[in-house]
Subunit: 511 residues, 2 copies
């Protein structure tokens, strides 16, 4: 006896959930277990879902089967359509998952099956978490990380730009204000290299490239429009459609984030699978190192570089890794509007432009330009600087902004959040440390990235001499309550260390 | 601005879930993440919950906060009551969980904090799964297993019977029909030992002791009534209130079951924490070994025994382990009514009583009787047999049945499910193997334990000579469709091996 399909408008966040009423005949007859896997069939379509039991007919009636948003869309039939439900065989890759939980090494086939099931939302949150933790603890070796990355790149869409090279850059993250992409992409695209950069929104940081770019232009563009735009302008800074590239990645992130799992294996697979699926042939990877960065020592950074190099090479991706100074934020602003101001100051060669952001962006752009076979090793930096100083990078940026959909932005009067306060130096001395995580937290408490104009504006940097009472940074908050949260947080620990110049512990990095 | 509490009648299965409408001002203002942890406060009470986002005002309105059943009960305020919600600090034990995920050893304090948070439903399904898998892969050492078991026994209620010894028995499971508890408890209680056995329902098996006992008597009794009953009759076979004993165990099982995780560490902690919380001082543990049992070899059984012994001794529990023959089901029936028939046949000294069930029960009861300081080692078996043969065990059973609430049961005409078929020997020979898992699966497909009269009735056992076409077992199904499922399963593989007598591979076990 079929049930009638109904939609249960709960966002189960990349888990297919089916809802049955506890008094439903089928539920009682089949002896289903809560959280067990069921197969839902209609119109020749079939999906797997995790069963939830409901005691309220306002959610599902006795003769209905409810599906969560994700599952409803995946099944693709209308509300009221008859559906049948049965105990499901577990997803085919579950034996492989069990072997990983038992500490065994997985084969290429195992990881393909697992990734395929994950991308099709056949895993429950419990199974997903088990996979993520088993990979973390069972220590994927580098071959397994390659198998995983390769499998992730193969499910979902895969772009082919029909030219060579297709370049991209990526930073492993953790450094507030580090908006180099918004300078590197215009420079590289102005030179003529194809650079289809898909940007992400902030997950735990005060702003992602997509959030900052959104101050200047629309970023949510349909997949196909994005492709046309990139072909015309040689680059873009947009968000959208990325979930069709390496879709398993987004599903895994949904459980990695709440657990703060960010292991080397997961990071490599996540980054490289997206880049390969996006059709990139060359990638410049930025690994910042610093006492409050994701990577805290040079030996750790080198190990991570080797791992990226091994997997990229197996995937046929040309990879250049730079290890950079992650001891403090890059640029002055932390938060969408403040960062957009920094970027536009650099692009317009404004006298107040933050030099560290300019310099780092030029160095990265220079290395990327050298992916062009016609550019001699060592010449990239000079060419990048010429493109920036001559205004060609600004011109390219303006073209991309117009193509994505321009938004009003006044560089001289950016719209900052109204509730401000300054954090002052408690004593005279030299700034010898800035805690990236602390400042990111203060910027988030102030309302970033949700409130575009909220964030932190740095007024002193490592190595600067400050007098007692001199402002170290200014916080912009959208609401009085957020100002007070941010203020309390900065009172407990401002994130700044002040001492003597010789206490500065600089990393010996490339740049 | 507080929201109004509403109850969302979804059984989230031991996870506190809070529901906010996507258009709720608070959701938008706070920048909550899907699946993030929130703290819900009302009336001085506070609980942690995982946030789900809803797009339907029939589930929660724009000015409401919904709580899942578990969470609603835990918070303990009425619908409509104002509640406030904020981003929650993660549970205090999360740093310890992270360390376990990173492969570190946990301290006693770490495990106390983790178990406390789990029992209070402060963990999301993702965090719970991470803990379970990390323990599996990170290999809890035996000290950590003791810390875990001890912590689990300490949260929730803990019974004190104010006498000594308080005895119990437990089987690690996996052997269909193995209903020895329903014989051992009346024998031991008839002798006068206090035996407060809490029984469980089937999780993945065709019947648990509580399901079989429920054919004869009510088993769902309030916690306090159970205590009185045990004091009067020296024993019981009931289910109920056990979730108040070692409550973290039930929460962990909710994620272990879908992953089929049944590691030695989890098994030891689960069993011993419940027994200690139930006030037992002495435990007899049955570890069946066989090619299709949970434990498949003697070395494995011995390792498991040592682990149980180590942890029990650290917890102050006297433990006697017996390793028994698990090469085939015990008794004839598999399924609630069929097993109840077997048990009552043994208790009434019926000529058809299955001798293997009688013998195993007497041996177990004998070993338990020897927990009595007044009984000489080796005398237990004879005393148990006297109690059974004299009818004193039956008398005790009847008293317990009446005390729990008698149900009508006709031993000569048990109510078996109507749709039957027999599985026949495909050739002449000697039965040399019976696959426990296969027969359990067939019994479940036939409808057990939901359909009380469904299951499998064994007509031949290992060592029996059979002719071609002679029935090996009979299947009773509640519905025609279930008969057909069970039939298909038995056609693919009957679960019986037939060959020569010398191919029988007997385990060299205690009994």
């Amino acid at each position: 006896m079929p049930l009638a399909l109904c939609r249960v408008a709960i966002d189960t966040y990349r888990e297919n959930v089916a809802y049955l009423h506890r008094e439903c005949d089928l539920y009682r007859a089949e002896g289903f277990q809560a959280l067990s896997k069921v197969e839902v069939r209609a119109n020749g379509q079939r999906i797997l879902a995790t069963l939830n039991v409901v005691d309220d007919t306002a959610i599902v009636g006795h003769t209905q089967l409810g599906l969560s948003e994700d599952a409803f869309v995946l099944l693709g039939v209308e509300e009221g359509h008859p559906v049948s439900v049965s105990q499901a065989e577990p997803p085919v890759s579950i034996p492989a998952l069990r072997r990983k939980i038992a500490g065994e090494r997985l084969t290429r086939k195992d990881l393909r099956e697992i990734v395929h099931d994950i991308a099709e939302l056949r895993y429950s949150k419990i199974e997903l978490t088990a996979f993520v933790v088993a990979c973390e603890l069972g220590e994927l070796d580098r071959e397994e990380i390659f198998f995983l990355s390769d499998a992730m790149a193969r499910v979902g869409r895969r772009l082919d730009w029909h030219e060579h090279p297709v370049v991209d850059k990526h930073c492993i993250g953790g450094i507030p204000g580090n908006r180099t992409s918004m300078l590197v992409v215009p420079i590289v695209a102005a030179h003529g290299l194809l650079c289809p950069k898909t940007s992400s929104r902030a997950i735990t940081s005060p702003s992602g490239t997509a959030d900052t770019m959104e101050v200047l232009a629309k970023v949510e563009l349909p997949f196909d429009e994005l492709g046309k735009l990139v072909r015309t302008h040689r680059g873009c800074m947009a968000w959208g459609g990325t979930s069709e590239l390496s879709p398993a990645d987004d599903v895994l992130i949904a459980v990695e984030r709440p657990l703060s799992i960010d292991s080397p294996g997961q990071m490599v697979a996540s980054i490289l699978s997206k880049k390969v699926a996006a059709g990139s042939t060359h990638l410049l990877l930025d690994i910042p190192v610093g006492p409050h960065a994701k990577v805290r020592s040079m030996p750790e950074a080198r190990r991570l570089r080797k791992l990226f190099e091994f997997v990229a090479s197996r995937m046929g991706l040309v990879l250049d890794v730079v290890i950079t100074d992650g001891s403090q934020p890059i640029g002055r602003g932390i938060g969408p509007v403040l960062e957009a101001r920094d970027v536009m100051q650099v692009l317009t060669n404004h006298p107040d432009a933050p030099m560290d952001l300019r310099l780092k962006s030029l160095r990265l752009a220079g290395r990327m330009l050298e992916f062009d076979p016609d550019i001699r090793g060592g010449d990239g930096f000079g060419i990048a600087r010429d493109i920036l100083d001559s205004g060609r990078a600004l011109e390219k940026m303006q073209a991309i902004i117009r193509a994505q959909g321009e938004k009003p932005f006044d560089l001289e009067k950016p719209e900052l959040a109204p509730h401000q306060f300054e954090v002052l130096a408690p004593e005279a001395g030299v700034v010898n440390a800035i805690d990236n995580l602390r400042l990111a937290r203060i910027a988030r408490l102030a309302g970033a990235p949700k409130a575009r104009g909220a964030g932190v504006d740095l007024l002193a940097r490592i190595g600067d001499r400050v007098e007692q009472g001199q402002p170290l940074y200014r916080v912009h908050a959208a609401y009085r309550s957020e100002r007070s949260f941010a203020h309390q947080c900065s009172e407990r620990d401002s994130g700044y260390g002040i001492g003597q110049a010789d206490e500065i512990n600089r990393m010996n990095v490339e740049f």
